[in-house]
């Protein structure tokens, strides 16, 4: 960001989506270092749509809060990658919505780790010791007459 200052940030922030898209394409073609700034602004403009779609879809699919947050982050990164394409793209909100739906659905196939609050395996030491004692003949089964 060496060549980017607050004036650039302000100027980019004032551009509407259409102007920002034109700027994005020109900077991609020219290898302009300020592209990073434009991409950030575009992704941030797409975030509310990502948040809404992920929240609604996560609720419909019964996903956890952590999965919803992961889907939002995933969609944000995917949007950033999409904006790196050197071609005219649809409005950022439309792309964001589409990617958010894809990324939320992808959480369904996410491998689940072992549950952190899993019930521990019971340690039945007394039962095991009784079994050992029975096998070794140190105690005998109760046959009903000796009790």
């Amino acid at each position: 960001m060496n060549n980017i200052d607050h004036d650039d940030d302000d100027a980019v922030g004032r551009l509407d989506d259409g102007a920002l898209e034109v700027t994005r394409l020109r900077m991609l073609r020219d290898g302009d270092e300020r592209l990073e700034l434009v991409l950030r602004h575009l992704v941030i403009r797409g975030l509310p749509m990502i948040g809404r779609v992920c929240a609604d879809r996560a609720q419909a699919l019964g996903l956890s809060d952590a999965q919803r947050q992961a889907a939002i982050e995933d969609a944000g990164v995917r949007l950033l990658l999409r904006l790196g394409l050197e071609e005219r793209l649809p409005r950022v909100g439309a792309i964001a919505a589409h990617l958010a739906a894809e990324c939320t659905d992808a959480q369904l196939s996410k491998p689940q780790g072992a549950p952190r609050l899993a019930v521990p395996q019971p340690q039945l030491r007394i039962v095991e010791q009784l079994g050992d004692a029975l096998r070794e003949g140190r105690i005998r089964r109760n046959d009903g007459r000796t009790s």
């Binding site: 609604d56 889907a71 944000g76 990164v77 990658l81 790196g84 394409l85 739906a101 992808a106």
Partner: protein
């Protein structure tokens, strides 16, 4: 995407945001017949699961996302944004590095221990951002993109060098071409042994150029 398409899509979104749910045909009629399937699909995936929308999105949801955007967009190096993006996507999707390497090994038939080690080594270098992006084979980037359910073109674009590496990339790269990869043997290997074909293939995929 045409202007009519965009207008119809946003009209639908605005209507639903305002709590007015109309029949999809109302929006589909606004676009040319050739675009109706696409619009219907988009509306279905985006809107079908939504009721009237509330704006009370939890700001906490954005915290990690903004950090991810900063990290990926701000990545500087010869492999561009892809290394940071790969790491983030693996994390959010719960994909282990081993899983990616297994998938690549299966796709390219890398079965030898030396080939497998090379795959692990080069994938690690890719995620570390030390490979030269434009030297990575496009077929490998396409394989990776499929693994992450992404558009392969995005991965090709994402390996454009950034920062000072971008300026340096204007100078011809000094890396080896695909053609001489086969003459190399690893440092500890007996020079009389033939190089492992799987290892050669892996090296070509990661450093042999876009068409390797």
């Amino acid at each position: 995407m045409s202007n009519a398409f965009e207008r119809a899509f946003w009209l639908a979104v605005d209507d639903i945001n305002a709590g007015r749910i109309e029949a999809p045909e109302r929006y589909l009629q606004l676009v040319p017949s050739t675009q109706r399937d696409e619009l219907a699909q988009l509306l279905a995936t985006v809107i079908a699961s939504r009721g009237p929308v509330s704006d009370d999105i939890d700001p906490a949801d954005y915290v990690s996302t903004l950090a991810a955007i900063d990290e990926v967009a701000g990545a500087k190096g010869p492999t561009g944004m892809l290394p940071a993006a790969l790491k983030r996507m693996r994390k959010t999707r719960g994909i282990e590095r081993k899983h990616v390497i297994d998938a690549l090994a299966a796709e390219y038939g890398v079965t030898s221990p030396a080939g497998r080690k090379a795959l692990e080594r080069f994938y690690h270098r890719l995620e570390s951002g030390v490979l030269v992006g434009p030297r990575i084979a496009h077929r490998l980037l396409a394989s990776l993109a499929r693994e992450f359910e992404a558009d392969p073109r995005e991965f090709v674009a994402a390996v454009r060098p950034t920062g000072s590496a971008a300026r340096a990339s204007a100078v011809p790269a000094m890396g080896r071409g695909a053609g001489d990869a086969g003459t190399r043997t690893s440092g500890s290997r007996d020079q009389l042994l033939l190089p492992d074909p799987d290892e050669q293939l892996v090296e070509r995929l990661f450093t042999g150029g876009p068409d390797a």
